[in-house]
């Protein structure tokens, strides 16, 4: 779970845990996300787009270089359609829009894991 906002990580973690998923790690920017991905090898990643140090699009590219089968769902804010498209072109599987709608989150994660 990658997001520079601790509160958003907490909310998303809460939604996913209640839906039966296990959150195995969190990262506050793209650079930490790459390190944690290599260490934890999660089944999937939720990735914020705008973050300090390294943004989500760059992190997707780096993770996909390391693991082409990596499953990544982008978490975008309003007005970030272009960036979402860039992330999908870089290999992300889906996107969810913040603030999170629980149903949509679970749907996107379930689909990404299938």
């Amino acid at each position: 779970m990658v997001d520079d906002a601790a509160f958003m990580r907490m909310m998303l973690s809460d939604h996913l845990t209640k839906a039966g998923f296990e959150v195995v790690g969190q990262a506050e920017n793209g650079a930490v996300a790459i390190i944690k991905y290599k260490e934890l090898r999660p089944d999937m990643v939720t990735m914020d787009i705008t973050m300090p140090e390294m943004d989500g699009i760059q992190a997707v590219k780096e993770i996909k270089k390391f693991d082409p089968a990596a499953r990544i769902v982008m978490c975008s804010a309003m007005g970030q359609q272009q960036m979402v498209m860039e992330a999908i072109q870089a290999g992300a599987r889906d996107f969810i829009v913040k603030p999170f709608d629980v149903t949509r989150v679970v749907q996107a994660v379930t689909k990404a894991l299938s």
């Binding site: 906002a5 804010a77 309003m78 007005g79 603030p99």
Partner: protein
């Protein structure tokens, strides 16, 4: 001095109304309870006037600052008085165990509120300008208004001396909270806005 006509100000106010509506919808989803946002007024004014509008002498407040990137650039500052910021934290209910302005999670929640409000206004403005823009990660300050408002606004107005100020009212948990949103555009974005306003007539 740059003047805008009353028609052009109406256009800016309408952009603000769209932003406020989008922000209210998003905040309702974030907080899990109804939120309404209205815009009593909009001003396009010199920096000095903008600073005076947002400053509240001898009062402590919270400011959330975001940068704008993309085709529209600049900086935005959303301010709340301390009591309003605390009320927003209360409105999160059980989602937020600690409702203290010095608590990291509480500050993160407020930054997210600021991010959503600024992002909603940025989206409305960029759609009007037919340009793309997005917010950089927010930062939060909790201090006397005099200690941060003018510093943030002056540093945001590096190229121009004009700010767009939206006076907003947030209805959260049955209470009306007053806040101010200032947009300090970079020079090329300032020209883009003036050209677009000129094209709309007035």
């Amino acid at each position: 001095m740059q003047q805008v006509s009353s028609f052009q100000l109406d256009v800016l106010n309408e952009i603000g109304n769209i932003g406020a509506g989008n922000a209210a919808t998003a905040l309702s989803l974030l907080m899990g309870s109804p939120v309404d946002m209205t815009l009593p007024w909009t001003k396009f004014c010199p920096l000095e006037e903008g600073c005076a509008l947002l400053s509240r002498p001898d009062e402590v407040g919270v400011g959330v600052q975001v940068g704008l990137d993309g085709s529209v650039t600049g900086r935005m500052l959303l301010t709340f008085d301390e009591a309003s910021a605390l009320h927003i934290l209360l409105a999160f209910g059980d989602m937020l165990p600690e409702k203290d302005l010095d608590n990291e999670m509480a500050r993160s929640a407020l930054m997210e509120v600021g991010n959503i409000v600024a992002g909603s206004f940025v989206t409305a403005l960029s759609e009007f300008l037919k340009a793309s823009a997005w917010c950089s990660p927010p930062t939060l300050v909790h201090d006397y208004f005099d200690a941060f408002v003018c510093t943030v606004m002056v540093s945001g107005c590096q190229d121009t001396d004009y700010v767009l100020v939206f006076k907003t009212e947030l209805q959260v948990g049955g209470k009306v909270l007053h806040s101010d949103l200032a947009f300090m555009p970079a020079e090329d974005s300032f020209r883009m806005i003036m050209n677009a306003l000129g094209a709309t007539g007035g």
